[in-house]
Subunit: 427 residues, 2 copies
Amino acid sequence: MAKVVHLGFLGCGNIGGGVWKLLDAMHDEILQRDGLDIRVERALVKSIPEARTDVPAEILTESAADVLEDPAVEIVCEFMGGEQPAASFMERALRAGKTVVTANKMALALHWHELQAAADQTGAGLYYEASVGGVIPIIRSLTVSLEADRIHRIMGIVNGTTNYILTRMAREGASYADVLADAQRLGLAEPNPAADVEGFDAAYKLSILSSIAFHSRVTVDRIYREGITGVTPEDIAFGREMGYTLKLLAIGKRSGNTVEVRVHPTFLPDSHPLARVDGSLNAIFLHGDFCKDMMLQGRGAGDMPTASAICGDILFAARAVRHTVPSFRNTAETDPALTVTDDWSTRYFIRMKVTDAPGVLARIADVFGQRDISLAAVMQKGSEGEKARLVLITHKARERAVREAIAALDPAIAQVVSCIRVENGEA
Amino acid sequence: MAKVVHLGFLGCGNIGGGVWKLLDAMHDEILQRDGLDIRVERALVKSIPEARTDVPAEILTESAADVLEDPAVEIVCEFMGGEQPAASFMERALRAGKTVVTANKMALALHWHELQAAADQTGAGLYYEASVGGVIPIIRSLTVSLEADRIHRIMGIVNGTTNYILTRMAREGASYADVLADAQRLGLAEPNPAADVEGFDAAYKLSILSSIAFHSRVTVDRIYREGITGVTPEDIAFGREMGYTLKLLAIGKRSGNTVEVRVHPTFLPDSHPLARVDGSLNAIFLHGDFCKDMMLQGRGAGDMPTASAICGDILFAARAVRHTVPSFRNTAETDPALTVTDDWSTRYFIRMKVTDAPGVLARIADVFGQRDISLAAVMQKGSEGEKARLVLITHKARERAVREAIAALDPAIAQVVSCIRVENGEA
């Protein structure tokens, strides 16, 4: 006997259309194999006359209540994107006891507490595998497969647009502005690209990843965020000479009760597995006490890969009565027992223009040395007018000390052009 | 209120000891976070006086019945390895309604039908994440996250010992025998290495992977198997010159109702993500209709990574009432609706010694051409006595045609030294 599962869609754009297409293509196979007869009952669109979708016109509606209040709908799939009204619609669905499946990292990262509280109240399920890394099964890996492990570090390439831009800048030596314009022309970057290039998208995803990995809510406002708009082909070329590849990483680290969470351009050794994840691919590298190093890579975006992850959630939700994923003590705010630090320790690539005169390097080294920052490599590369181009790579140093050192440099002899953090995947 | 979960161990060697250690280290955290109080009630060992384990002596037993018939034991964790008595013990546990967690690919691949039938009879759970790829969450990714997708290809580096040997042969130009001896000395290969180097271990794992991915039992006896004992440094060096890396791959492909399943040394383009998975690491690359390319990599062996995967299963089993993973119609034998072919189509690297005389290359090319095998590259490399060394790379060709061509070569002019299949990750 097949079990009929009734879905309601909130939104029916690219992702909703992809889910429809997948469910249509796989309907008979899923029915035969799993005994699940998945049916879409209602689909909310902004305007029925303007809807461009394969979903049959007779199930389209312009009223959210038709989805949220239809007693036949058991699972609500949210494809609207954005913070509101998506978050409040999901909350209404959960309060009505309907399971929610979403790919909406923004609504989840900002409203996790209300959503989880609503789910807990009614026992409804809340699933969001597709919210981070597209089809990469990172959420289920962290919440289920690695549940008994203790995760210390996560480093992810979780935004395909910026990875595409950085990959092309590295390959072509092209400027950020030129590659961005081309990516926009190709539809790979939004007309307003801020969410991607300023790191907001990655920060939402890091909030979700680090909350789950560290079993404690890490809110978006605690995440240090720096985008790729300031990245230059010169930095990429200097890094390459020194054996580094530049990536926009979402980094979460835990040491005892201290957590650091940051999104910024990062140099990785060329030998690191993440350094080879190119174009619009996503990948998540993690390290735990018992699992040691692990990496998952795949399509982080695209209608059909995202649809695959969403439909995985739908089938899981349809079969499991309710698999409560491990929660954390307090979804409202960052766990008071955990400290989120902004004074992490890592290595730094610092490029500057310096006056080409005897004694200058010693004076610069002294400014760093006074703050316990030791230099692992110094490279001088030609000159521009009276200025020499100098690149320093530090050993591990404190973020604050590096900022202080940069501020303390005498502008008459040294101007810092760029400062990029360097990670090697170790603690 | 904590839920007490009672475990019984079958076997208490390296992996059992690792699981004990993990559960001991994480007990309080799991209790506090997940409300699960995990307790090991009984542990079967061969000989209590000779047991070298951290598990307390009072719970050790030499009688399997003490574990299998103890009504308090809800989850039986099998760490004995090997086919028997492990398989029959697991079957007894399942028939008694106890959930079974195992990492035993051999017992599972050979006795899946009896085990699944026993589980279905009582509703007990059967979990085996650690049986393939160690801590890599490939089983759950296939059975849960990608359940709605249609997987066409799997290529895995699923045996760490052979990957270690091939990696060192490539780096050092050393012979198979020398590296094997060193690996045995370091404890990275067994004194009797056949299970690893002859590809048996990889074949058991491929049976499990392809059965799940293709939703149809693929029994071990249907898998073509060729180990690494015949691999030479010369082949590796020739391949490198042509841009290929040699790996022992477990390959499963499905096209319509035809399946090909094979374990053999394989050349991969250096640019393929699997080509860079070195040493004892494992990785699984897969391609599905909707998810497209995906790769998961991590520790395929080792006490603690394996323990992490096993404990993930234990917590999942303890929490889910019973999450029935998608099964297939017939676990007893390969699905009659599917054809397992041994006449697959791929590319081939063929190295031979040929008589160095005019017209010889034309005669060889003719033998291949007559069988619809076209050559993508021909490389002649120096000579040994009167013989020239010749390497051919074919375009895609049928396995049987290639075998026939090799058999048809005139031994007076050409002797084939090695024939290695070449995959590029595409269909």
